[in-house]
Symmetry: D2
Subunit: 315 residues, 4 copies
């Protein structure tokens, strides 16, 4: 049985489009507020490096929280898994993405590297050790997209509107969890959030994770063990406090950002990048869930779906 | 390359044995306190129905929280997925197994069916609709073990020592979440916890989940969609507040009980049952983590391990 | 300067009456729901034993949480201050009256004897040591009202609708804080809540506390040190999570109950009893605050008002 | 009956001295860490302006949190009671002085002006409206101590070590509660904390509050209504999460600071200033409680002690 990927994408697009009016673009900085709420793009990259796409797949937008995955991988590469997870946990938090509560109630570590407190902690490890330029270069390589660069306007605007992240970072400093400069940590974190990607870039990064760090030409860009860790944490913690439901209904390790992007790595099969700046009340791309739930069913991508039908995909 | 399962089991056993002294048997009721702390059994059942085992695989012990998986599946079968999850969530809680906090802080549903508040809620749906006898029969069928029966001593003792579960159940009643009789809910819940199984029984149930509900003779005992949901929730929530770390390090959907059992369903490959009544401070079998982490690596069972080597397993 | 108490009472009544429509009678049991929402009574008893009243001062209603004051005093008399406060704290909780959260987050004691968890703990000390009949007798003596008796209908109805208190009590048992029978503790607690008093009874009890336990005929009914403790705790914790604001705006140690009563002991001056079953969203008599704030200003009753003008009060 | 104040002070000193070894000086900045742990001074100022003292009553130390009382009074004078309490509550928090939790769980206001979040909010109202010089002048006037000035070393050191307060302030900004510049708010707050006073200064400020804002020469320095509010909030919230116990055992509105000072205003009677840099685990002067509990009993100063014996005090 052959599966027409174009038809599948058209149906996924229709399902995503239908819920866009129920969401809203992020408005905490004016630059995000100016995004086209109705934009929707879905890009798929197969393990053979073929791309299929529909809609706004080449529009640039900022990675935002999706950069947490890149930062985590770089930190594990550089300092080792043990050292990273001495500073941050691996547990879902049961809380919203920007809650401070968890930090005060739990032992002396942020819950995981996907919540802001955890990502700031991981970033602080890199300060003074890994330059922004080097992280930018790594992001371009993971995404196979040499045109990724810093969106200066978003970056400036974020820096001027980040009271909550400042609050989190100073709390982490007060507890001795962040030991680098708080200002430099916030700066590096914000730069990573402000990298501009496309749905297509994200699908490239996603398939790299799906294929355990080996790109279509056979180059090993990321250690397979680190990919396994990153995918597991994306699965249990990547979608904030709807991660559990997302794991049940979609079952693909994913990470969303308030810029509207979603990166989804269907293990051993393919990578998906979605762009849709209309967000749900958790801060995730609202079209992402129906799009990915449909793709998961149609292409049998759920972690617990035994059938691998990627060989049967045709254009 | 052939893999000797006997050798792998011996090494897993050694690793589990090594940590047993660091744990302690449950003592909240005298019956559990009398368990042999040093007991350890590991049973594997392949998708072809072959059994491999080491140690105490035929000793009977009570299912305790592992019964939450059976109860959840029966409730989904009987009332539908939508109805069950209108009453209970799908999110990891970030809290210990018996915390009341989450219930007060979150919207009007227990976080998930694997914490006590969630399991009591799911059980309350069954009260008056599905008899204990029928649930017992289902458990026997899932475990392919007709000798499973109620451990009357444990059951009586649990009933007399369950202040915390009473507290949870009455809180759920006060919020309108439990609408059946609290006493009958607690009774049915305790009966299910008091069913006596073996490591071998658990491996049978585990492989059934792993094979999407189809047993070795080809009978479909559970709907595949329900298996998928159960496995996902076991993966994200099954090991209480170490579920996240367990998912990273083991990567097999699992559920433990304070009786010392662990059920682990390696998707599409095999089922594992472990018995070891020495518990860690989360209330999970302390030998479980090293045993399962080792088996996961040696037999390539992690959800994000692409290699299926089950065909290469030899005795 | 002479102050006409009748005029002051009329103005207080007017102010209380004005807010009655903004509240609602308790409805968690039908018996309370049947109360006349518009009823309002204010009774004052001076240190000389003179009574002044307006409105519904002789209507019987149940004490509810006001009984916590009586229970606390009896427990301190019987077991000593040290023993009581080994089991329960003295701190305001910052939480609503029936929250469980505080218990889980704080050290192993309920915050104070005025929240339900604290009152249940104090009651549990009395179980098997002090009979209900003896407590009833004490209440009659404190209130100088021999007609106080158990409202059987309310008592039965409360017993059948107390999931939340059951939840709290079993949690306390699970933590070893309640060591008596939970059922007997709940029964005794509910009996005390179901004693029927009048605004006039409450003003008698209030003036007894105000005069350090000595009644108008010079009999010492309560040790003055225990009165001091009770008044202090009423001041800091008596009005649930509006105790702080009440202390600022009224400044009289007070305790309210969901039956509509308020007992206010203006130290060294006079006692006030209010009846008004229309409650605010904290579960306190909604007319209570304007009535008592006005009386506090007009009669100079605030703890930090230096003027004692009780000698100038005329009918 | 005449009471020898010298004897009473000697006994109070002995009781304070006895517990000093159980505490520790604050060490979060080196300047506080250098304080003489064994220092103890008690200063009493009567309503007639007479001073009695023992020990280190003229040693300068920084006000720290005691300045919250001055700041609150100035804010109420300047903006009115209503405006101040639109931004901050009046409720005890049940939490430690520097907890962030309460802010996240409650409605959009810090609990009260005595916890750091509340004091920062009150300070933010003053930024740009009331200069530090004017606040310094007010503090000198309240304390009748023209030599109070900024301790530059402490001020610089605090500024360099205030991650937790930064965290709180940015959180308040993120919620729109602080609308002035966070940096200026933190600067003004820190300046007020760094004013150097003596036990004698504090006793002067305390008696001013005790006498409803009128000094010994009959000048009204503070509106009596504002004194009443300040004293009530000190009583219910002034000693952090031991305020309730302190109210029971001491019963005098008090405010402590980590510099070692305590200000206690015995309503309508006298003012007390204590200096003792050895702190208990709540961050309050450890000698303060036994000293003030003894003075309260010996001089009958508890809010609910009816006897005014100040006329009988002799040197």
């Amino acid at each position: 049985m052959k599966i027409s990927i174009s038809e599948v994408l058209r149906e996924a697009y229709r399902r995503g489009e239908a819920v866009i009016p129920d969401g809203a673009v992020a408005t905490y900085i004016p630059e995000l507020g100016r995004a086209d709420k109705n934009a929707l793009g879905i890009s798929i990259c197969t393990r053979d490096g073929l791309h299929y796409g529909i809609g706004t797949v080449d529009k640039r937008f900022t990675m935002q929280s999706i950069s947490k995955v890149v930062t985590l991988i770089v930190a594990m590469e550089r300092f080792g898994v043990g050292e990273v997870f001495r500073n941050v946990g691996m547990e879902p938090s049961g809380e919203a993405f920007n809650s401070l509560i968890e930090l005060d109630l739990k032992s002396n570590r942020p819950y995981n590297p996907m919540v802001n407190s955890g990502a700031l902690t991981v970033t602080s490890l890199l300060v003074g050790k890994v330059s922004f330029e080097s992280l930018l270069e790594t992001t371009r390589r993971f995404c196979n997209d040499p045109e990724i660069c810093l969106d200066e306007t978003v970056y400036r605007s974020e820096l001027a509107n980040m009271s909550r992240n400042k609050s989190i970072a100073y709390l982490l400093e007060s507890k001795g969890i962040i030991q680098s400069s708080v200002e430099e940590t916030l700066d590096l974190y914000t730069r990573m959030c402000s990298l501009s990607v496309t749905a297509r870039s994200l699908s490239n990064c996603a398939v790299l994770l799906a294929m355990d760090g080996v790109d279509a030409r056979g180059n090993e860009l990321i250690d397979s063990r680190l990919c396994e860790i990153a995918k597991t944490i994306m699965l249990t913690c990547g979608m904030y406090d709807e991660s559990g439901e997302f794991a049940v209904k979609v079952g693909i390790p994913s990470k969303a950002g308030v810029g509207g992007g979603v990166l989804s790595a269907a293990d051993n099969r393919l990578g998906i990048g979605v762009y849709g700046p209309s967000l749900d009340d958790k801060g995730n791309c609202i079209a992402g869930k129906p799009v990915l739930a449909y793709l998961s069913r149609a292409l049998k991508l759920h972690i617990f779906d035994p059938n691998d039908i990627t060989a049967e995909i045709i254009p």
